[in-house]
Amino acid sequence: MSNDRVQYKSKPGNLNLSVPNKFDVSNLRSEEMIVNLGPQHPSTHGVLRLEVLMDGEIVKEVVPHIGYLHRCFEKHAENLPYNQVIPFVDRLDYVASMNNEHAYAMGVERMLGISDQMPKRVEYVRVLVAELNRIASHFIAIGTYGMDIGAFTPFFWLMRDREHILRLLEWASGARLLYNYIWIGGLFYDLPVGFEDRCREFVHYIRPKLLELETLLIENKIFVERTANVGVLPLDLAINCGVTGPVLRGSGLRYDLRKVDGYSVYPEIDFDVPIGEGKMGEVGDCWDRTHVRVLEIHESLKIIEQCLDQLTGTHKRTRDFDPQAFIPKKIRPKAQDLYVRAEIPKGELGFFFRADGKSDIPFRCKCRSCSFVNLSVLPEIAKGILVADLIAIIGSIDVVMGEVDR
């Protein structure tokens, strides 16, 4: 092979240029050691690298090293027109793309001032697909969490049930995971004919499965022993760290942006916000966070049923309904700054936009991702625990590295 085809030349000095660790061997106390966890490890949920300072099996300090999956989302967004950013938005939290698109489209619509002209049917379809995707995301969170701490069967059962959701969404949008379905000012397509009936069948199918899940995993004695009283996140620390989503609600605060901000058609829909109550241990432990996710699936099913009622009743499919009717021909918001936030399965997804009013490319598009902020709480609650509990805590926070690194 000729020399110019070699992509990467290894030099001994390269490793010293970017110091991979924060801690140094020279200032460790006796019995202490630095253990590297990840980035290629199944229990770190992607490419998360943890530098763990340990004394025997006790974790003294955890330093997360992130950025292995950095794909320059913000740089891309500042070089592309608003509508072309949506496929990149899909790839932030790639197991809940619909929710990301919903948040992004809502932000741009608010900048354009067209958010209150949206047809109700469009909004109900958006909420319907977003809640379906929320269930799929929680299935992954619970399934992989069970697998992290040794329960293998729930993962397969949940993947099987998630497949039904992915097939429904594939039917609607044409893609399994990265949909590009919710557009600024409308939808890619209306729902396919017969979608509502299939969706109702799915709701009937999934309810008993959730009860199975609770007996199989959530109330399982081994699972409870591994998660109750582990990684307790006190509420004041959670708020101070900016934690949102099931992690915050697991700590006992009834704070859901679907209720608080009441965006889209959520104010017209009746649902509850479950919180962690410390049934198996202290409030805010890993078990509470997982249990909140299970309860949220039940609430999402309620929302889906109400959306289906609306979509087959008051706002039912008509021949002349065009989901692309309100898509603006030119997306050029006037000069302004706007911060928009929405509840995605992991927490608060926020977008900060600055439009200069002269181009259809955002001057600044910052993504406030919830996994990034939720992960930053890990060093706070992982002090003085056993290393096996560290794995349990990472799984219970439910980070998606695509969103952490953006």
């Binding site: 924060k22 600055r354 902020v373």
Partner: protein, 161 residues
């Protein structure tokens, strides 16, 4: 729940350097303050029992380009008990971008400020651990600056693809 004008009065009381300016062109309404007042204003907004902004949702760095020669940092504050939202903006000179860190008040600010340092090269004074967070530690330059030119090679890997 206070109105925006009442919050503005509270901000005004804790500004020593320059009176705050209101930015009408942003959603939510934003207050522009001097960078030396930031720590004081933030502390009073967090600890005043009538405002109680207990959650720092987002910290954004903005580069206005070499022509404007300014950078900005925007803070999005939320008050959970009062359901209140406020944006604070601070303008910094581009040749010496330095601002006080808020990570002592809100722990969220820690990683957000590291990211802004990484992407814009804005220095946060008194930050506990100001390292790059997304880019490798030996990366040259701050990628989201408007005049950023990437290096040709990174560890003998061609950057241009």
């Amino acid at each position: 729940m206070l109105t925006f004008d009442q919050i503005l009065t509270i901000v005004k009381e804790s500004c020593a350097q320059a009176p705050p300016a209101v930015d009408e062109e942003s959603t939510p309404k934003a207050v522009r303050i001097d960078k030396l007042d930031l720590l004081h204003v933030a502390r009073s907004l967090q600890q005043n029992p009538t405002t109680y902004f207990d959650m720092l949702s987002c910290v954004t760095g903005i580069d206005n380009g070499p022509d404007a020669a300014t950078m900005e940092v925007a803070y999005n504050l939320y008050s959970i008990p009062f359901n209140q939202h406020l944006m604070i903006k601070v303008v910094l000179p581009r040749d010496k971008p330095e601002i006080e860190s808020l990570s002592n008040l809100w722990k969220t600010a820690d990683w957000h400020e590291r990211e802004i340092f990484d992407m814009y090269g804005i220095f946060f004074l008194n930050h506990p651990d100001l390292r790059r967070i997304l880019m490798p530690a030996d990366w040259v330059g701050h990628p989201l600056r408007k005049d950023y030119k990437h290096q040709e090679y990174y560890r003998d890997i061609k950057v241009e693809y």
